[in-house]
């Protein structure tokens, strides 16, 4: 499917979502409550078959924390980007997609490690690179007077 057909298809299965045509990918903004359901449908529907999750990115927008999912179908060669964000900085929780795409397992652990976003129903949500003495270093409000030199 091309971008326009994909947009129509996503709207037909998930209701009216904010869909933007980016330079390279179709970008769909999904509220956290709908994310898991939409992801599963995109994976399983015969028309879309997004069988490959090739990137998960955690973002600190300042006020919000967000996660971006890059999906691709190796059968139809089409791609889509799902964006979701939460305004809860103290205890951000999103649904894990690790049972849909196994690749999400480590990606979500990395996002948790660096940004502190928790994933509900993740099989093994531990820190990936850092030990527990670290905070969440990629957050904009992260402070470390010892190791970080600022201008």
């Amino acid at each position: 499917m091309d971008k326009i057909q994909l947009g129509e298809f996503i709207n037909s299965i998930a209701g009216a979502l904010e869909i933007k045509e980016g330079n390279q990918y179709l970008e769909v903004t999904v509220p956290p409550s709908l994310l898991y359901k939409l992801a599963r449908q995109l994976r399983e529907k015969e028309e879309s078959q997004f069988d490959f999750l090739f990137c998960i990115t955690g973002v600190d927008y300042g006020a919000d924390l967000g996660v971006i999912y890059h999906l691709r179908s190796t059968i139809y060669d089409h791609s889509v980007v799902l964006k979701t964000r939460t305004s809860d900085r103290e205890n951000p929780i999103l649904d894990s997609v690790a049972d849909i795409w196994h690749a999400a397992d480590f990606h979500e652990r990395e996002v948790y490690d660096l940004l502190g976003i928790k994933f509900k129903n993740h099989p093994d949500l531990r820190r990936l690179f850092l030990d527990n003495s670290w905070g969440f270093p990629l957050r904009k409000d992260y402070v470390d007077d010892v190791n970080i030199v600022t201008k």
Binding site: F129, L130, P137, N147, I148, V149, T150, K151
Partner: protein, 186 residues
């Protein structure tokens, strides 16, 4: 002017070397030191250790075109127990720092450290706003020679290694002990 075209006198204006030679040496031990240093400087075996792109330049320095072997440095040792010099070729992050320290501790005396490239010298491109990078390898282990560059060309590393040879030449048993004492990181 290439390193080959440099005369011996061109190396003489190195301030740190002047300081080292100025500290003097024991008359009785001078000849012994000379012989020992001659042996040490002409068989500097580096440790196979590279954490980043500087390692590629280090490999290039070892390969036929630049050829470390001319100066007795060709035998890269995979075990720190058999190595004389560790070339810190690349960024050291906080997770890597204890490993580097352990490798250094495992090397047997005499041991030398060359900090290769901007990252090993000061953190380089990661100096500002980085939570993960050690801002200079001298925070972890004592450094003998700094080779600037990002990454340094093999010629620069060769020059640095020749400087290390010159440094070894000026060392005495006494200065060696002092150097180790001044870098007691335990």
């Amino acid at each position: 002017m290439g390193i080959k075209g440099m005369k011996r006198e061109d190396f003489e204006d190195n301030e740190s070397l002047d300081l080292l030679t100025a500290s003097g040496s024991n008359i009785l031990l001078t000849t012994v030191d000379d012989v020992i240093n001659w042996g040490r400087k002409n068989s500097l075996w580096p440790l196979t250790f590279a954490t980043r792109c500087c390692g590629i330049e280090m490999m290039a320095a070892g390969a036929p075109r630049h050829d470390f072997a001319r100066f007795g440095m060709e035998v890269y040792r995979a075990s720190p127990r058999q190595a004389d010099v560790i070339v810190v070729a690349g960024t050291i992050v906080h997770k890597m720092a204890p490993v580097l320290k352990r490798l250094y501790d495992q090397m047997s005396e005499p041991k030398y450290v060359v900090a290769m490239g901007a990252c090993a010298i000061s953190g380089g491109p990661f100096f500002l706003n980085s939570y993960s990078v050690v801002k200079g390898v001298e925070h972890v282990i004592p450094v003998d020679v700094y080779v600037p560059g990002c990454p340094p060309r093999p010629e620069a590393l060769l020059y640095g290694m020749l400087q290390l040879q010159r440094l070894i030449e000026t060392q005495t048993i006494k200065s060696r002990k002092e150097r180790n004492a001044s870098h007691d990181y335990k």
